[in-house]
Every structure is written in structure tokens, then in C-alpha cells.
């Protein structure tokens, strides 16, 4: 692979990128002061960076091909380590116990700041799992997922502000309102083809945000709603630290419940229908599956979870405004699902932790967050469409002698 021809080709590609990025990367103008800055060093970074990136990609591709060939000749399927752990009940139980106890003691070991970050990560896990029902299982690309998140958050904020309703009362209400919104939106749009659906949901998400921004009487516009109550703990006033810890445990429980439910849904008649629908809609209908109803259920279940997390988000930040519910938020959640592996529960959990925690801990890197998210979407589709952890299909036990 290090032949002269390859090196020449790579060098040409690098040069092309240097040319391509020249105006944006190299020139920076200040139109007020009328100064031009020529940042030639950037051109060098681009050239060298692309040169080595291409070699890295070619090398990885090459290695992958060889590995595939070896696998084919050995005629056995190697399982990722995570799958083999799940397959073994003893190992699986050990892992679960370790994870649970770590989760339990986490807030005692780490600072409130860390706990707060962890709450955010857990919220994205649940959001990702919710979107995973829609995108991963049912194959409906929903780019307006954040709208349902907003419905949940605003439900709590407004009900709390106007009627003084508490967190626990609104939690199911927020979820149900979001689910209902999903049902109402889904009804007309779910008969659309996949790519149109994506755009309509995107448009819908933006409409919701713009309405929240402009309808001052209802949502208090861009200034948002502040002083939202934190979750109540049997009527006891908690300190700030205490309430953060409390929220942390709420999130842990919610995550466990979500994983449990999503897992059960996936292994049910309904889950099978979703996956079949993703594979081939016409064959599905010919097998007697009501396309519209099945899609609606997926869409509105996903929305329900977004709504639940929305309520928690409002309770966590105690302040919300429309700026928290932009398209980028939907894109982040989508990146989580795509990175983890569409349809794979463990994958989505890992995806959320990677994408939310890494930028938090690598501060220098956080500026590049959205750049990387965008890059991940492209790279995953091109190089690894099944995600980090591809989903394994369940096999069923049955009596073979009947």
C-alpha cells in the first residue's frame, strides 16, 4: 500500500483539500478594521492532516478486508466481546452488579459537578433509547425529536408556573402530552416516504421552536421560564447538592426502567413488526401488518420518552427557553443512535456516554463537538453503518421434536 502510485495519489488528494479549504481556512478578513490575515499554517495542517488520514483509512480498510477474508476461510463468526458477555448469564450478572453498584455510589465519590454531568449523560441515554425505537427499530428518520422533548419541558414549566403542579404529577402528564403530540403529528405524516418524513419532522420541530419563541403570551418567548421547581422529595426541602443527587437517582431508575421496557418491546410481536417494517414495508403489509398503526405506536412511544426527559430537563435546569430545543439537539440524539448502532440498546447507551461525556471531560475538544458529531454521522454511514455495537437478533428456543 505504500507504493509510489498510492503516495502520489494521496499527495494529490491532499493538495486538492488544501485548495478546497484555502479561502475558508487560510484567509481571515476583518471587514471593520480592514485587515487581512493570511493563516498559511492552516494550509499546511490541512495538507498533512489529509495525507495521513487517507493512509490511515486505507490501512484500516485493508486490515478489515484481510480480517474478513480470514474469517471467511476459517468459517466461523467472531462475536464482539459484549455479545459473548450477554450470552453468558453468569458473566452478565456480574457485569450488571458491578455497573449498578458503581452507579449507586457514584455521587458519593465524585463531586456535584461530576454528578451533574452524569445526569446529563443519563438523560441522553434515555433520549437515545427513545429515538432508537423510532429510528433504530421502526426505521423512521425523525429529525424533529427535540420537539417532543420541548413539549415535555414546557408542560412542566407551564403547569408548574401557572398551577404550581409538582414534578411527580407532571412527569406522566409531560410524557403523555408528548406522546399525544407524536400521535397527532404522526397521523398525517407517517404515510410519507422515509426521506420526506425526515424533512417534515424537521420542519415540525422548527415550527414548534419558532412558535415558542414568538408566542409570548403562552411561552414567554425567548426569555423563557425560570424558577421551575426541582423534584419534590416527600415534601422535604433538599439542599442544592441533595436535590442534584436525588435527580441523579431518579435518572438511574428511569434509565433502568427504559432499558427494561425497550428490551421487552424489541423482543415482542410489536418489536418484530417494527423491524420488519424497517426492512420492507410492502412485504409487511402483505403479511397483515397495519403499517400506519405500527408506525404510529413507535413514533408516539419515542415521543413519550422524549417528553419524560423533557420534564426532567426542566426540573434539572430550573430554567428553559426555546434556544435549548434547536435542530442541533435532534442531531445530537441522532448521532448517539447512529454511533451506537441503530436498533442496538447497548450501542445506544455507549453512544450517549461517549458523545456526551467525552466533550465534557476533554474541554479543549468541546469546541469541536458539533464538527465531530457531523463527521461521525458521515463516517459511520460510510464505514460502519451498523454502528459500534451491531444489534444481534434474538434466537428462540423451541421444542425441535414436536
Amino acid at each position: 500500500m505504500f507504493s509510489y502510485k498510492e503516495i502520489k495519489k494521496t499527495a494529490l488528494i491532499s493538495l486538492w483539500f488544501v485548495f478546497l479549504t484555502f479561502p475558508i481556512m487560510v484567509i481571515k478578513v476583518d471587514p471593520i478594521e480592514r485587515i487581512v490575515r493570511w493563516r498559511w499554517d492552516n494550509a499546511i495542517y490541512v495538507g498533512v492532516g489529509i495525507f495521513f488520514t487517507r493512509f490511515l483509512i486505507e490501512y484500516l480498510k485493508d486490515r478489515n478486508n484481510k480480517r474478513q477474508a480470514a474469517k471467511r476461510s476459517a468459517n466461523k463468526e467472531s462475536q464482539p466481546i459484549i455479545h459473548s458477555i450477554i450470552a453468558n448469564p453468569k458473566q452478565r450478572n456480574i457485569v450488571i452488579v458491578v455497573l449498578l453498584s458503581t452507579a449507586f455510589i457514584f455521587p458519593f465519590i465524585f463531586s456535584t459537578y461530576q454528578t451533574n454531568i452524569m445526569i446529563t449523560a443519563l438523560m441522553y441515554v434515555v433520549l437515545g433509547l427513545g429515538l432508537n425505537i423510532v429510528v433504530g427499530m421502526a426505521g423512521l428518520l425523525d429529525l424533529g425529536f427535540v420537539a417532543f422533548y420541548a413539549v415535555g419541558a414546557y408542560s412542566y414549566a407551564l403547569l408548574n408556573y401557572h398551577f404550581g403542579l409538582g414534578f411527580w404529577a407532571v412527569l406522566p402528564i409531560g410524557g403523555c402530552l408528548a406522546g399525544l403530540a407524536g400521535l397527532i403529528l404522526g397521523f398525517p405524516v407517517l404515510r410519507l416516504r422515509g426521506d420526506y418524513l425526515a424533512i417534515v419532522t424537521l420542519g415540525f420541530g422548527e415550527i414548534i421552536r419558532l412558535v415558542l419563541e414568538n408566542w409570548n403570551d403562552f411561552s414567554m418567548g425567548p426569555s423563557g421560564i425560570s424558577n421551575i421547581d426541582r423534584p419534590g422529595f416527600f415534601g422535604i426541602e433538599l439542599s442544592l447538592n441533595g436535590s442534584i443527587m436525588y435527580l441523579y437517582y431518579i435518572m438511574i431508575v428511569l434509565m433502568i426502567i427504559t432499558i427494561f421496557i425497550v428490551n421487552r418491546l424489541q423482543d415482542s410481536r410489536l418489536g418484530r413488526a417494527w423491524i420488519a417494517l424497517r426492512e420492507d414495508e410492502i412485504a409487511c403489509q402483505a403479511m397483515g401488518i397495519d403499517k400506519r398503526k405500527t408506525k404510529l405506536v413507535a413514533f408516539s412511544l419515542g415521543a413519550f420518552w422524549a417528553g419524560i426527559v423533557g420534564v426532567i430537563f426542566a426540573a434539572k435546569t430550573t430554567f428553559i427557553n426555546p434556544a435549548s430545543f434547536t435542530f442541533l439537539e435532534s442531531a445530537i440524539i441522532l448521532s448517539i443512535v447512529v454511533l451506537g448502532g441503530m436498533g442496538s440498546i447497548i450501542g445506544v447507551i455507549m453512544g450517549a456516554f461517549i458523545l456526551i461525556l467525552l466533550p465534557e471531560y476533554l474541554r479543549a475538544f468541546s469546541e469541536y463537538r458539533m464538527l465531530v458529531f457531523g463527521g461521525i454521522l458521515v463516517a459511520m454511514m460510510v464505514f460502519r453503518p451498523q454502528g459500534l455495537i451491531s444489534n444481534i437478533r434474538r434466537t428462540y428456543t423451541f421444542n425441535k421434536d414436536q
Binding site: R264, R272, I282, A286, K291, R393
Partner: protein, 263 residues
């Protein structure tokens, strides 16, 4: 003569200005194997698509009468999934399996319209749901056995050989417990060995009393399997009758001129 299970009268389908089906009449009785033949582009698959609700026909009626004195249903205007629920199941000319699902799961999907578990049952795994799930698995497995794919139950459908995929489509359709099974060119692309196996399979399914409507180009297969044959050309029915009659029919020979029909 008993009332036919499916009685199609005056079925017409227009695509823009083109009449793909022209006042077509056809009927299938219980326990029969009926074949629908005709040159390429005669409108056979369009006929299937109309009957199964994928296309909405421009005119005509399709009356389904379940045996045992049940009320007749007009399938016209029903959605494809409702048609399947009422008792018509089909296979596809260009195989449409759920390729990323296992072989067994493909058949289990066929049970969807005969089972009921929903969100609540899925989450709480009630006793009824568990029982239903067990029945789904067992019935699907026994269907796989019937079509000879039981040993491949846990394979992905996309990894199956061509002939096996066609048999899996049949098993999946049978899982919906159809009154009438519609097979769209089940032997297309098969080698003689596979075709022979397929013939045996169709015979076996029919011997259990399953009514079958078959589109097929392999004349040998059609002639040896069918009780009655309908011949179409340019969207019209040009002949109907038992195999011997069809073989001697000059209209049919004309339509097929150049094609080999001496089975």
C-alpha cells in the same frame, strides 16, 4: 358446484391511459390449484397486486367467501393488511423477505395478523402474551419443517440460497393461515432440481386442502400441478379450462407463439 372462495368479476385496472387489466373474470374453489398464465406483461402480477390491495383497481369486484357458510366480503378498496387478515396471502415475484431477520422470525411475522399482544402485553409479559408467543414460535417452526428449512431457523434470511428463500416466502405466507395462497412465479430462477422440490412442496400444501392461485411460466410445472388454468394476454382473459383444454387451445398457442408449451 360450491361457491368459489375467490370470485373476481370484471376486474379492470388503468394506469394513466394504459389498461393493464380489462374486465377480467376468475374464480378459485376450495382445495383447488388454479394457475394464471400468459406472456410477459400480460398483467398477471398486476392482477395479484389488485387482489391483494396493493393497487386499487379501477373497476370490478373481488368477492371472498370463507367456507362454512360465512358471509362474503368484497376485497375491493381494502388495505393490503386487511386483505391478508381476511384470508389472502401472497409471495412475491422478486423475493421480498426481511433480510436482516432470521428465517424463523420471518415466518413469525406471518403470524402477526392472527395474534394480538400489544404494548401492555409486551412490557409486562402477561400469561396470555407468553402463551401466544410460544404458539407463534411453535407454529412457525413447524411450518419451517414443512418447507424443509427447519435446520436453518436461526440463519439470516439474506444468507439463504435462492430456492430456499422462495420456500421461506411460502412458509411466511402460510403462517397467516390463508384461505387462498397466491404464489407469484415461485419457480422463477430455480434449477430443475429445485423446481422439482417446489412441485412436491406445492402438492403437499394442496393435499392438506389449501387453495392455491399460481402465476408461473414453467409450463411443465403448471400443467402437472393445476386443476384449472386461466390464460391472459394484454390484460384480457383469452382462455380458461383444464390443462388438456388449454394445451389444445389455438388462442393460447397464438399468444405463446414461439414459446415452448408442449409439456
Amino acid at each position: 358446484m360450491t361457491t368459489p372462495i375467490l370470485k373476481v368479476t370484471g376486474l379492470t385496472m388503468d394506469f394513466g391511459g394504459i389498461r393493464a387489466l380489462n374486465r377480467l373474470d376468475l374464480d378459485v374453489c376450495a382445495g383447488e390449484i388454479v394457475a394464471l398464465i400468459g406472456p410477459n406483461g400480460a398483467g398477471k402480477t398486476t392482477f395479484f397486486n389488485c387482489v391483494t390491495g396493493i393497487y386499487q383497481p379501477t373497476g370490478g369486484d373481488m368477492i371472498l367467501t370463507p367456507p362454512g357458510g360465512h358471509k362474503s366480503i368484497n376485497l375491493k378498496g381494502l388495505k393490503p393488511n386487511t386483505v391478508t387478515e381476511k384470508g389472502l396471502a401472497r409471495t412475491f415475484q422478486n423475493i421480498r423477505l426481511f433480510s436482516k431477520m432470521t428465517v424463523l422470525e420471518n415466518v413469525m411475522i406471518g403470524r402477526h395478523c392472527r395474534t394480538h399482544a400489544f404494548i401492555f402485553g409486551a412490557i409486562f409479559r402477561t400469561k396470555a402474551t407468553r402463551k401466544e408467543e410460544k404458539e407463534i414460535i411453535e407454529m412457525s417452526y413447524s411450518l419451517l419443517k414443512e418447507v424443509g428449512l427447519a435446520h436453518l431457523a436461526d440463519e439470516f434470511a439474506e444468507n439463504l440460497a435462492y430456492g430456499a428463500q422462495r420456500r421461506l416466502e411460502i412458509a411466511r405466507a402460510l403462517a397467516t393461515e390463508p384461505l387462498l395462497l397466491l404464489l407469484d412465479e415461485p419457480a422463477a430462477g430455480m434449477n430443475p432440481q429445485e423446481t422439482l422440490q417446489l412441485k412436491e412442496l406445492i402438492k403437499k400444501i394442496a393435499s392438506a386442502g389449501q387453495a392455491i392461485l399460481l402465476i408461473e411460466h414453467d409450463m411443465k410445472l403448471v400443467m402437472s400441478l393445476s386443476d384449472r388454468i386461466f390464460v391472459m394476454d394484454y390484460g384480457k382473459k383469452i382462455a380458461e379450462g383444464v390443462p388438456a383444454e388449454i394445451r389444445a387451445n389455438p388462442e393460447v398457442i397464438k399468444a405463446y407463439l414461439g414459446e415452448d408449451i408442449d409439456a
